[in-house]
Amino acid sequence: MSEPRLVEVRRNVLRQNDVLARELRERFRAAGVYTVSLVSSPGSGKTAFLEKTLSRMGQRHRVAALVGDLATENDAARLRRSLAPVAQITTGTVCHLDASMVRGALEGWRLDELDFLFIENVGNLVCPSSYDLGEELRLVLLSVTEGEDKPLKYPTIFHTADVAVITKIDLAAAVEFDWDAALANIQAVRPQMPVLRVSAKTGEGMDEWQGFLEARAPVSSAPSGGAVKP
């Protein structure tokens, strides 16, 4: 039997996902829609935060959401209360969204009729980190009830995200949340990461969040012709 030969290749294992994600990103940009994804552990308040975001931002912008979940349509039903278009991506046993799921969920959508698209990933702080979804901005959410050391336990997800959002801040005092430790931990794993603090329940921090987003999105400075404005 002949000797095997070693051939050099250089190929990203997730190339197919990366190519799809790049195509999506180009489509989003061409359509003028600013796309934001949300990752967090289960129960960190992603859906409540997104529901509040959709109903507040929906007053000034055209917003929509895709929501990933393993099994139920509950989150989509909650988000539809905001009156924004919402599509559920049920992943079955798959613990993350990938670019092809996003593309599939957007079939038939008129992206040029949107200003902001939010993609809520499956609740998981590990698996979503490997997959680019074509989003412009990725948020990692962490609630005060989860404790201050989440960033230290899951540094990789903080590395793939652009912004950290601390949620449920209305409960911070009740759980004796250590703000200094939490902020230091975020900076320790991801120096210079912007941090926002919100409470979907009381609305605290939601104005700052909306302002942060509008400042980043191109649509805020130059609203498109058909934008829904009062």
Partner: protein, 115 residues
């Protein structure tokens, strides 16, 4: 755990590359893996065998080469390792690091093939 999904993508990538090199068989796949790729090495090794079953890569080995995190330190003006993932700063001067130059890799770098 998403390593099985990753392993399936890995097998597909390796199969395509093997075909490009007119391989009649694949003995081993060499992968570079960085700690920021979000993939657990042991879980991937385990998943690889499962994912290879029934494919032309069944029975092949997965050889994983670590790609430790490296950053460009603006103070040292050099490529440096970091203290740790929990203390993401230059291992030499402790300046917080923001420019990652290595550590996100999840790539096939070589195949051992019969042809």
């Amino acid at each position: 755990m998403h390593e099985l999904s990753i392993a399936i993508s890995l097998i597909e990538s390796a199969e395509e590359e093997a075909a490009r090199h007119h391989a009649t068989g694949v003995r081993a796949v060499h992968l570079r893996l960085g700690p920021l790729a979000g993939v657990e090495k042991d879980a991937l090794l385990f998943s690889y065998e499962l994912a290879a079953e029934g494919t032309s890569l069944q029975g092949s080995r997965l050889v994983i080469e670590d790609a430790p995190v490296a950053v460009f330190c603006p103070v040292c003006r050099e490529r440096r390792p970091v203290r740790s993932l929990q203390s993401f700063c230059c291992a030499t001067c402790d300046t917080p690091a923001t420019e990652v130059v290595q550590g996100r890799e999840l790539e096939v770098i070589a195949l051992e093939i019969d042809s």
